[in-house]
Each structure stands twice: as structure tokens, then as C-alpha cells.
Amino acid sequence: MSEVTRRTFLQYLAVSAGLLALSRLRPPLLGAAPALGARGTLHVLSEKEANILRAVIKRMMRGDETTLPPVGETAAVETVDWVLAFADDVQRTQFRWLLRVFEWSPPWMLWRLQRFTALDANGQDRLLQAWERSRMGWARLGFRALKNLSALGYYSQEATWAAIGYRGPWVPRPPKSPRLVTVS
């Protein structure tokens, strides 16, 4: 893990903030919750954010383990997005910020001028480890948030269950998504 002193952290936080501003990456303030339709489309996350999340889930939950299905062949990202619709505005905004800060964190966590999604697999794992073991509490919390939502997205997919010996629900899936998506 790279040593990040308080001073270097502040310096690179400033650089990251600048990059974010230059790239107009600030997520729009979220107002009303999105109207939910069928699962499988994005309601909360942008395509860019979804791509970051997809890369996170891949390294977080699967790595190079070939007995588990590729993340891209599942609806893991769409499921996280769907669940995020139940969060309040503050939580959703925080998670979107977390994704973008994580994406732009290699410069100040690994001293590499690349985004997370542009790193090779080894670099991506090193970044995850840097967040997991960071001396900064907020980074460790961020890692746990990413991990929890990655687990939610990936292991809710039926395609993953056979590989872990889970037989799944007893009740058949209703013809439509459950009542919760139609209540509003």
C-alpha cells in the first residue's frame, strides 16, 4: 500500500477536486426519486457511474475466479441502481460521489495518473486494497459501502447461485416484479 501522509492527502484531494470540477463530474443534485419501471434499466446512476460500478463489482466480487459468471453477463449494476431508488436523496448523492471519487482516486492513493476504470486488473486490485486498508476512516467506510453494494448486486443474481451451492427461493417469481415497484 502506498504511504499517504496527511500533507500528500490534502494535496491530492485538492488535485482531485480540481479534476472533478474540470471534468464537470459533479452529479446533479437529486430531486424527486425516479419513476421506476421494469428492472434492467438505469434509474439513479448515469451510464458513466454504472460503468465504474460494474468495474468495482468485477474486481470486488469475482476477481479472476472463473467459476463465477462474468459481471457483465448479469444485471448486477442494474440491481444496485434499482435498490438505490429506495435510498433517500442524501444517501444516493453520497453513493454517486463515492463512485466518482473512487474512480479518480489512483493519483492520490497509488500515485498513478489514471482513473480506476483505466487501470489493469492488478492496479484495480491495488486500489481496492489501498481503500480497504487506508489509515483514513472515510476511505475504509467507502470501501465497505462499495463492497456491500457489490455483494447486493452480484449475489442477488440467480446466475451466481449454482456456483456457491445456493438453491434459491422456494416461491416462484411472480409474473411481474413485486408490488413495491407498482405502488407508486
Partner: protein, 511 residues
């Protein structure tokens, strides 16, 4: 009729004799008992109303529906996750059905320290009524599943005492999905027992109604006001309920939150939060366990708690198992190493230490009225939990585990048979270094006869208020040291009985 968002078209203005806020193990009981006594009762529940058709046994679909903050509610420092129900029936819809009466030594401790005005024997009629309603019965031997049998086997080899518990299930098919709501109506939750009975007795039950504030004038609460919210928490309308008497039953986080938002502050409101914090370990076996099948918790290890001799300390050990999402989020590490452990999911046994905690925390509210939860484990109790973790590892190895995982966030332990287990106590159970969870927050509006020590009196009435009661786990004067469902319901039954007995005080026209 249980009204939900579908039935609420516009702002609501209601009048009733009694307004019960919350519909879990406390509120449902009070609502039913007072309605059957002939009082005009309104029950308000912030969450939705779900029936067996809604329980899809899928984590990603049930967590947002059944749990506060989608199951992500936690202390401010995120070190303890707190699972609480948010639906008609409260946590009884997702709990795992352990049924234990209040331990008599704890009642004696409450009499001694809180000067509560009743004895264990006074509570027995309430226990009996509650247990009859919830159809409490011993768990049949045939329904002790493989996971629980493994833990019992380990305990028996080590000479540790445990019991097969009682539960409130009827005609259980053993699907094992209790924590996601029972789609077979086997779990006798409040939503299936007391709430329908309250409905039959004429109580008006409103789901999706989140109380924000009590309007207080002097020693009386005048109205409860709040928002009608949809399943995403979006406000759809406003409501106000004017009543002669109010009963707060929103749980040990939300009940003090409502009081604090209402400007009722000071004293012990929101203080003395006990969590029964728990930490879990996983054992990996060579044979298939399929821990998610069957009754999740039937065995209960009480070797390390002796309330008769020491009502202020100890812990119990329980079986536990999670579905894939929960398990994956709790297991240590990430990437390929994490995936390799997950491939042993069907050979896994979960076990937890649940602390009878003397440590305390509190509930405050932020500027927007949201709850801020603090909690700090005392060092001696961190050591006690670490001791419990070592015993858990012993139990798992004694029943044949080939590996035990201790999920520290950093450098988790992977122990093999013959490993020196003192390494667990050497690492300890320091808050923030290992996942901690709570399903039993309690004590934030504690009961006692002395207003300078307690928030509510022995009948649950808030000191200094003429017409405000509390009936939920908030009122426990200390950590209970046992699963709380029956105690909560029995105390609520007793509170309801005290209201009925003195009804002329609030409803002179009904006497």
C-alpha cells in the same frame, strides 16, 4: 381494514381516543388490547403493509421493504449495523422467532435499580396471553436443522450448556427464509396475529404514515402529525391525529427520535441505549450444510451467561446464517480470495456471540430530525466478546469444521484445527475493527419510578405527561440479556391493561 397508500387519496385529519405510533411487538399488542376494551384506536405505521404474496425470498427486494434504511441503519461511526423492521408488524415480520420470557433475575434487577412496581409473577398473565396469541411452542426436534445440529454437537463435546428454544411458528415448512418475511404464513408475527385482531376489534390501522412530531401543550400531547409516504419514502400527503391518549411504540431509535423532534428533551430521553451487540464467525466444513435451509435459529447456548449470580454480565451464543448477499458482505476480503470462500457457502456454519451489554450509547437528532446513534463498547466488554469468539471457534472445530473465519476488516483470521485460538483474544473484538450488528436496540426511554432516573413509570406512562405512554423496547431499564420479543409484547400487554384499568382518567364517558 388496514389502510395503505392505495387508500389514502389526500391529507388526513383523524380523531380517536387512542393513537398508537408503531405496529411492532409493542404497538400491535396495545392496539389490539385497547380496541378490544372498546376504545377507538388508530394505529400509525411508517412502513408498508405486506402479506405472504409480497415476500419473494429475495434479499434485494425484501431489504428495502422490511428494514429501516434498507438494512443499512448504523451507528454514526458505522461500527454497528442496526437491523430494525419498518412495516406493519415491525421487526416481528423479519425476526427469527426465538421466544424467551424475561429472565426473573433481570426483573429483580429492575425492581432493585429502577424501582419498578411489579414482580415477575405479575407479568406471568401477560406472558401467557402473548404466548397464546403467538402460538408459542417448543421447536420440534425434527426441525433442528443441520447448522444448529452442528453447533449443538460442538457444545455437547465441549460440555457447554444449550437448549432447543421455543418459537412462534405454526405449520412451519422449513424454507428458512424467515428473515425475509414468511411467504407461508407460518411465522406468527404481529402482522398475522395481533394486527388482524386489532382490526377485527375496530382499530383503524394506517400503514405508510410516518409520524414526525407530537404537538405538546403543557403535560398533554394534543396531536400526532406527519407525512403519508410511499414505499420510497416520498411524501404524498400529510396527516394529523388528535387523540385523548398517545402510545409511542416506534422502537428504541424512533421513539426517542419522535420525542426529541417534538421538543421533549432532557432527562434520560434517548440515553442508555443498549444494543445486544453481536459478532459472527463462520466455520467451513467438508460436508454440505446448506445452512439457509430449515429453521435458522433453534439452538441457544447459555453456558456463558448466569443471570442468577451475575445479572450484569455475560453473553449467549447462537446459530446464524445469511443468504448470499448478506454472507458476501460480511465475509472478509475481496476478489478471488473472497470468491473462493463464497464457493464454500453451502458448507458454511454461522455462529454469533450476543453480548448482554452494560455498555451504553444514545440517540440524538440532527438538524433535519434524523436519528444520530452513538454507541461505545467498554474495553472489558470488548474482551468479553473476544472470549465468546474464541468459544465459538472451539465449538465449530469440535463439530468438525476444517476452517474458521474471523472476519476482521484488516487481516482476517483463517484458523485451522489445532490452531492456537488464543490469537482471537489477542486480536480482541475492538469496535470498528470487526463487523458488529444489533437486532435488539433497547433502553432509550427507560422505565422506573424515579423521574430523575427514568423516562416512563412502571406502567409505561411518560413521567411529567398526563396522556403519553411508551410500549416498546425503549422502556427496558437495562439490557435484557435474552431475545426480547416476548418481553416487549408482555410489557405492552401490561401497559394496555393499566390503561384499561384507569380508563376513566382519560375517557370518563366510557366508564
Amino acid at each position: 381494514m388496514i389502510r395503505t397508500l392505495r387508500d389514502i387519496e389526500s391529507d388526513l385529519e383523524l380523531r380517536s381516543q387512542v393513537c398508537v405510533i408503531g405496529s411492532g411487538a409493542g404497538g400491535a399488542v396495545v392496539g389490539k388490547e385497547l380496541a378490544e376494551a372498546g376504545l377507538d384506536v388508530v394505529v400509525l405505521e411508517q412502513g408498508g403493509y405486506y402479506t405472504k404474496e409480497d415476500f419473494t425470498q429475495r434479499e434485494e427486494e425484501m431489504m428495502p421493504l422490511l428494514f429501516e434504511e434498507m438494512g443499512q441503519r448504523a451507528t454514526e461511526d458505522q461500527s454497528v449495523v442496526i437491523l430494525q423492521g419498518k412495516n406493519v408488524g415491525g421487526s416481528t415480520v423479519h425476526n427469527l422467532c426465538y421466544c424467551f420470557r424475561t429472565p426473573p433475575p433481570i426483573v429483580e434487577k429492575w425492581r432493585r435499580e429502577a424501582r419498578i412496581g411489579w414482580r415477575y409473577d405479575d407479568l406471568v398473565p401477560s406472558f401467557e396471553r402473548v404466548e397464546t396469541m403467538l402460538k408459542v411452542q417448543p421447536i420440534p426436534e425434527a426441525q433442528v436443522n443441520t447448522l444448529n445440529r452442528k453447533i449443538r454437537e460442538g457444545c455437547e463435546k465441549l460440555g457447554y450448556h444449550g437448549v432447543v428454544a421455543q418459537h412462534n411458528r405454526q405449520n412451519c415448512v422449513g424454507s428458512g427464509f424467515c428473515i425475509l418475511g414468511c411467504p407461508f404464513d407460518a411465522k406468527q408475527s404481529m402482522a398475522l396475529t395481533y394486527i388482524p385482531a386489532a382490526d377485527r376489534a375496530g382499530a383503524r390501522i394506517f400503514a405508510n404514515c410516518a409520524v414526525e412530531q407530537l404537538e405538546v401543550a403543557g403535560e398533554r400531547v394534543q396531536r400526532a402529525t406527519g407525512q403519508v409516504v410511499d414505499v420510497y419514502g416520498r411524501p404524498r400527503a400529510r396527516f394529523a391525529v388528535r387523540s385523548e391518549l398517545f402510545v409511542l411504540s416506534a422502537g428504541a431509535i424512533n421513539s426517542p427520535q419522535i420525542l426529541l423532534r417534538s421538543g421533549v428533551r432532557g432527562g434520560h430521553i434517548g440515553k442508555h441505549l443498549h444494543l445486544h451487540p453481536s459478532v459472527l464467525l463462520a466455520g467451513l466444513y467438508d460436508e454440505d450444510i446448506h445452512g439457509y435451509l430449515g429453521i435458522p435459529q433453534s439452538y441457544y447456548v447459555d453456558e456463558f451467561i448466569d443471570l442468577e449470580h451475575n445479572p450484569d454480565s455475560g453473553y449467549v451464543i447462537m446459530p446464524i446464517f445469511g443468504f448470499p448477499v448478506l454472507t458476501a458482505s460480511q465475509l472478509p476480503g475481496f476478489g478471488r480470495a473472497h470468491a473462493e470462500i463464497m464457493r464454500s457457502y453451502h458448507r458454511m456454519v454461522g455462529i454469533l456471540v450476543l453480548l448482554h451489554d452494560q455498555s451504553e450509547g444514545g440517540v440524538r437528532v440532527d438538524r433535519k430530525g434524523r436519528p444520530l446513534i452513538s454507541y461505545r463498547l467498554r474495553p472489558e466488554e470488548e474482551r468479553l466478546m473476544a472470549e465468546g469468539m474464541r468459544h465459538c471457534a472451539e465449538i465449530l472445530f469440535a463439530s468438525g469444521a476444517r476452517e474458521v473465519l474471523v472476519p476482521y476488516f484488516e487481516a482476517p483470521l483463517r484458523l485451522r484445527p489445532g490452531s492456537d485460538l488464543s490469537v482471537i483474544e489477542a486480536r480482541g473484538c475492538r469496535q470498528g475493527e470487526i463487523p458488529l450488528a444489533s437486532t435488539h436496540p433497547q433502553g432509550t426511554l427507560r422505565m422506573g419510578e424515579d423521574p430523575s432516573w427514568a423516562v416512563v413509570d412502571s406502567n409505561g406512562r411518560v413521567h411529567g405527561f398526563e396522556n403519553l405512554f411508551v410500549a416498546d423496547m425503549s422502556v427496558f431499564p437495562s439490557s435484557l440479556g435474552a431475545p426480547p420479543q416476548i418481553t416487549t409484547a408482555a410489557l405492552a400487554d401490561r401497559t394496555a391493561a393499566s390503561i384499561v384499568a384507569a380508563r376513566g382518567r382519560w375517557f370518563p364517558q366510557t366508564v
